[in-house]
Amino acid sequence: MTIDKTVAKETRYIAAWVLAFSVLMQVVFLLIGEWDYTVLLGNLLGAATAVGNFLLMGLTVQKAVAEEQKDAARRIRMSQSYRLMMQGAVLIAAALIPWFSLWAAAVPLLFPRFAIMVRPWFDKHKGGEDA
């Protein structure tokens, strides 16, 4: 299955911001004196899951928009359930395996939302001449 140009572009954007927020989170953990290797490994696990979840969602949307409305809705619902279970499994693994910090694995799952939140601000500055 080929990845649509739009999906690849959006995933790259989200991945870049997840990386930036991850670095910021590591700095915060360092500053509060709670940093150890479990924070780094947890962050890697959470960030990879967040980007992977976004890519899978993009691929599902890419497939769904080519289908009938009912099939598309069903596909998205199924996909969301599976992806939520996948993230649940990752968090359970992070909680049970002592190599990972649960907090450091859980917080990066919310980074794509933060990336989307800051997007209008950057688009306004980048595309100021377009407006």
Partner: protein, 94 residues
Amino acid sequence: MLELSIGIILGACALGAGCAMIAGIGPGIGEGNAVAKACEAIGRQPESKSAVTSTMIMGCAIAETTGIYALVVAMLLIFVAPNLLVNVLMKAIQ
């Protein structure tokens, strides 16, 4: 009495986690409806497919955050809260 208190704490945490996961149902339904409407829009204007897909992905990501919040809260209630609350109880008894 202590066992009963610990049991209540564990039960309440599990119940809270279960209640939190109710929020995981909503995003799937919302995303499904939104994508169904996107299919309709692309059917009407096939040239807008790229723009609609891009907006759709971002919208789905935002909708999905609610479910992820719920998941994170449920995991914290299962793995973090019981230890914390039992420690508080033990300190209060001592």
